[in-house]
Structure formats: C-alpha cells, structure tokens
C-alpha cells in the first residue's frame, strides 16, 4: 500500500493547501516512509482492545444555560482581514 502522488494531491485538496512541485515530491516520499513506519502497528492484534478517545475518566461536564455578554467580542471581531457593515467579507464562493 504505497503512498502516491495522487494520495498527496487528494489530501492536499481536502486540507485546502496548495503544494509546489517540490513539496509535492518531498511530501510524497516523506509521508510514504512515515506511513511505512506507522504500519508497524499492524503487528499488533487489537481486536479485543477498546480505543481510547479520552485518557481521563471524566464525563458529563456541563455549563448552565446562561447568557454571559462577552467583553472580548469586539476585540475578536476586529481581527477580521476584511469587515464591512459588521460582516466578515470573503472572496466569492464559487461552487
């Protein structure tokens, strides 16, 4: 199951990253060797093992349904690269 240029292209597209030719070449090679290394996990029989999503035995953490005005909201909104009439402006969405 070798990792190919097509694989790199596909995930780069999913991750919304444009790669230069060099990057494409290097990443294909590097990810291939990393994945080959990572495949050593297949040596292990884990059929009866529960996956760990959380290392802590913590559950049921909630907050109450209360509105708290946020003092930092303006500061956060102001960071927008482009703000018009209170809206975050983005380039045209072409489907």
């Amino acid at each position: 199951m070798a990792f190919t240029r097509q694989d790199v292209d596909y995930i780069a597209k999913l991750a919304r990253i444009t790669l230069s030719d060099d990057e494409q070449k290097n990443f294909t090679r590097q990810l291939d060797s990393i994945l080959e290394y990572v495949n050593k996990l297949n040596e292990l029989d884990t059929d009866s093992v529960e996956p760990t999503a959380h290392i802590l035995p913590v559950q049921n953490v909630f907050r109450e349904d209360e509105v708290k005005p946020c003092a930092d909201s303006k500061l956060a909104v102001e960071q927008s690269p482009e703000l018009r009439d209170g809206l975050f402006i983005v380039p045209p969405v072409i489907e």
């Binding site: 349904d65 209170g86 809206l87």
Partner: protein, 475 residues
C-alpha cells in the same frame, strides 16, 4: 411500469436555549450581525467548548417524545469540511453515538395512522449565515447563528408520498411545539428540512438512486418539491434514463429542483471523536428525571378531546395540532359547555382572523372569556348566529367584548312579536305571488319570505320567531 416513491427527511431544529451550545453567547434572532459572538464561537485559537446542559435535556426530551431509545453513552465528533460560515472548519456533531435513536412519529393520512421511523436525533452546532452579494464582490458572513444548538432528526425512508412528508413535518412540529424546545419557524430558519427522494418499481425491495433536495423554506415547499422530484425521476426512468445521486436545490419561484452540480467533490468528512468534550453518560434515573418534563403530547390530547368534549377526530386534530390553540380551547371549555360550538367558532372565525393577520393564538385579542361570553349571548337568544359573526369580527378588531359592541351598534336580536308584526305584514303584502307559490307547495318560497324579513330588520330579527309568525300569518 408503476413506480413508488421512497422518501426520508432530515430535519434540523434550532433549540430555543438562551445561550449557545458551547459558549455563553445569546441566541436571539435578528440581532445586528456579529454582535452575539465571542472568541469561542468565532473559533479563535485556544478556545474550548463547554456543553450547555439545557441543550442535552431538550435533546433527550425530544427523543422521548419521538419514542426514541436514549443512549446511555454518547459523545461528540468533529465533522471536517471547509466553509466560511463554519468558524473552526469543523462542526461539532455526533457521528456514531447520537443522544437518541430508533424512534417513530405517528402520522394520520387518509384516515389511517402510519408510523414513520426516526433513525436518530443528534445534537450539533449550527453554522453562521453566508450572505451572498452580487457582482463578485464577495460574500459576507454573520456568525450570530454559529453555535446555536441544532437537533438533527433523521427519519427512516418510510415516507411514501409528498402528503405523508407534509404530515410528518406537521406532526413533528406539533410535538416539538408541545415540548416548547424550538420556535420551529421555517422562515426564520429555526426549522430546516432536507429530503432524500428516490423511486422504485412497485414491489421492488431495493431502493432506487436518491437525490437530496435542499433549500425548501416552508412545509408546502417540501410538499411541492418532493412531488416535483418524484415526477422528474419518474420521467427520467420512463425515458430510459438513470437517476443520478446528487444534491438538488428547490427553487420556490420556478417550482422546480435544480442540480447543484460540481460541488459534489466527494465529501470526506473525516469524523473523529471531539477531544475537547467529554462523553455524556446517562443513567436510567437521569432519563426518568427528564421524562417528568414530558407534557401530554398531541396524539394523546386529541384522543382525550374526542372523549371529553365529544368533538370529531378531525376537529380534535386541528385543535391539538398547536399546543397553544389546544390550551385556548380547553380554557374555553371551562367557561362554557357547548364544546362543539366552541370548536366550530375557533376553527372558523378565530383561526381565519388569526391566519389573515399571521398571528399566533396567544396574540388573539379575543380571549377565551370574551369568546365564551359571546357564545352565551347566542345561546340565550340575545344575538343571532349570523349577527355573532359580525360581532366577533368587531371584537377581534377592537378588542372590545361582545356586550359593548352589541350595545354600541344596536345589534340586539328582535324577538318581540309586536315589533315584527308590521314588518311581516308588509312582506306578505308586497310578495303576493310568492306567498301563493308557497301555498301551492313550493317550500323554498318560504325561505325567501324569511329572508325578506331579515333584510328589512338588517338581520336582527330572531329567525325562530319570524318562522313561527310567518307560518301563522300565511296559514
């Protein structure tokens, strides 16, 4: 060849919690853009979500009302995709452990009950609103809506006609209205519906290829879009074509669905467990605690209305469809004992006035007390049923009670024979030939004479008294 449709609905319901699902921002509809936001719901670096307890309770409550099993262990997952209305570029949702699963909604179509399965109901965060502008100047994003709790209710493909789809949505909205966990306003977007539609030759077990229909903004729109889509797919198949799996948008102006085209670069959402949130583990006791808040639901209430008030199933269904309307009806029944008459007046006059003005029943200027006071005036003969309609319209318009309007407008019914004697005599005199017709056995002529008396009294004459006096006079 005959085809049958297979329809499944995905309904998103915005829960009406005061604050958002994972932060303490307000959720009020219609606020100025980006004023109900904070670093958390804007997806700034370093922020973490903390779950709103009420949202969980609402989700479980809804699950119970939809006859679902409630998961003892649930968790959240990240659904990864890029869109500018999604601040983190992943949506916190539930993938394989939703809060509720395996339920059903009973619908009533063509006089028959049918169960529509509910596959699952899970909680997720809403996205913001992308406001497209023309002329390629880009789009604007408002994140006020981002992070409002959404309950996604997924039906089984049990729906087999556009009418059933409509009935399912109506039933769902009714139940959620009873729970008071959402405004369920499709125009404001607090209820959204996508439909998966496919058709197959009658009798075939396998499903056909489905299209996902989006962008419907009313229940009637869903009805029309699904009908259109069934027709479209039927035509494609009859012409020897193939239905393509795709997303189609409903255009309410053109009454058509359109393919979204290109966007379908195969979705690869890369779900994985949300590490920033911990699992939710519910015990039997937790669930029973929430069950206590389950009110009498529409179907039960309908049956009770038929039993307790002796009204028809149809009337009971109309009255119980909206909890507030049913409450209104029951308030009336405590004040007046002609339950059938109350039901008729609510369904004809009251609902018409409300619908004309697009008002909810809670905003009616005629309260149960005023309505039943008026009905009592009909019962005791003070006004006729016909005059009452005018009175009611005035009541609704002005907010005054029936008594006041009757007095102001002099609408009290004339039942005094002395007052009517002269008028009846005049009518007989000036309609000699018609009187003869009646005497000759033409029953209809009698009604004409009554009508003439009513006309002369501007409708105020008591019809029973007029009938009797006319009969006596003509002999």
């Amino acid at each position: 060849m005959e085809f049958e449709p297979v329809i499944g609905l995905e309904v998103h319901v915005q829960l009406n919690t005061k604050s958002k699902l994972f932060c303490s921002c307000a959720t009020v509809f219609g606020a100025e853009p980006n004023t109900q936001v904070c670093p958390v719901c804007l997806g700034h670096p370093g922020v973490l979500p903390v779950m709103n307890r009420k949202a969980l309770e609402y989700a479980v409550l809804c699950g119970l009302a939809l006859n679902c099993s409630i998961s003892r262990f649930s968790k959240f997952d990240r659904k990864n995709y890029f869109y500018p209305d999604l601040p983190k570029n992943y949506q916190v949702s539930q993938f394989d452990k939703p809060f509720c699963y395996n339920g059903f909604v009973t619908i009533h179509v063509d006089g028959k009950d049918k169960r529509i399965g509910v596959t699952r109901a899970h909680l997720e965060e809403d996205a913001g609103k992308l406001l497209h502008s023309d002329a390629g100047a880009g789009s604007g994003v408002d994140f006020n809506r981002t992070g409002i709790p959404l309950l996604e209710i997924v039906s089984e493909p049990d729906i087999s006609s556009p009418e059933e789809a409509y009935a399912y949505l109506t039933a769902l909205k009714s139940i959620i209205g009873y729970l008071d966990i959402s405004d369920c306003n499709m125009e404001e977007g607090s209820l959204r519906c996508d439909a998966n539609v496919s058709i197959r030759p009658k009798g075939q077990k396998e499903f056909g290829v489905k299209a996902e229909i989006k962008n419907m903004n009313s229940f009637r729109g869903v009805l029309k879009a699904v009908s259109y889509e069934i027709d479209r797919q039927t035509e494609v198949l009859l012409c020897g074509g193939k239905v393509v799996q795709e997303t189609r948008l409903w255009d309410a102006d053109k009454n058509m669905t359109f393919s979204m085209r290109s966007k379908e670069e195969a979705h690869d959402y890369r779900y994985f467990p949300e590490p920033d949130l911990v699992p939710v583990v519910l015990t039997e006791a937790n669930i029973e605690e929430i069950r206590k808040y389950l009110p009498e639901l529409p179907s039960a209430r309908m049956k009770r209305f038929v039993m307790d008030y002796g009204i028809t199933e149809y009337d009971a269904e109309v009255l119980t469809g909206d909890k507030k309307l049913a409450d209104y009806y029951e308030d009336c029944t405590r004040l007046f004992n002609d339950y059938k008459s109350i039901s008729n007046w609510i369904q004809s006059e009251l609902l018409r006035e409300l619908n004309d003005r697009k008002l909810p029943v809670t905003a009616s200027s005629v309260c149960p007390k005023k309505l039943t006071d008026m009905l009592r005036l009909i019962q005791n003969g003070t006004i006729s049923g016909k005059i009452a309609k005018t009175v009611f319209a005035q009541m609704f318009e002005t907010g005054k009670d029936a008594d006041t309007i009757i007095k102001e407008k002099g609408l009290v019914q004339i039942s005094d024979p002395d007052e009517l004697k002269k008028i009846i005599a005049d009518v007989i005199d000036s309609n000699g030939s018609i009187v003869d017709d009646y005497k000759g056995g033409k029953e209809k002529s009698f009604m004409f004479l009554v009508g003439q008396v009513m006309k002369a009294t501007k409708g105020k004459a008591n019809p029973q008294v007029v009938n009797q006096m006319l009969k006596d006079a003509i002999g």
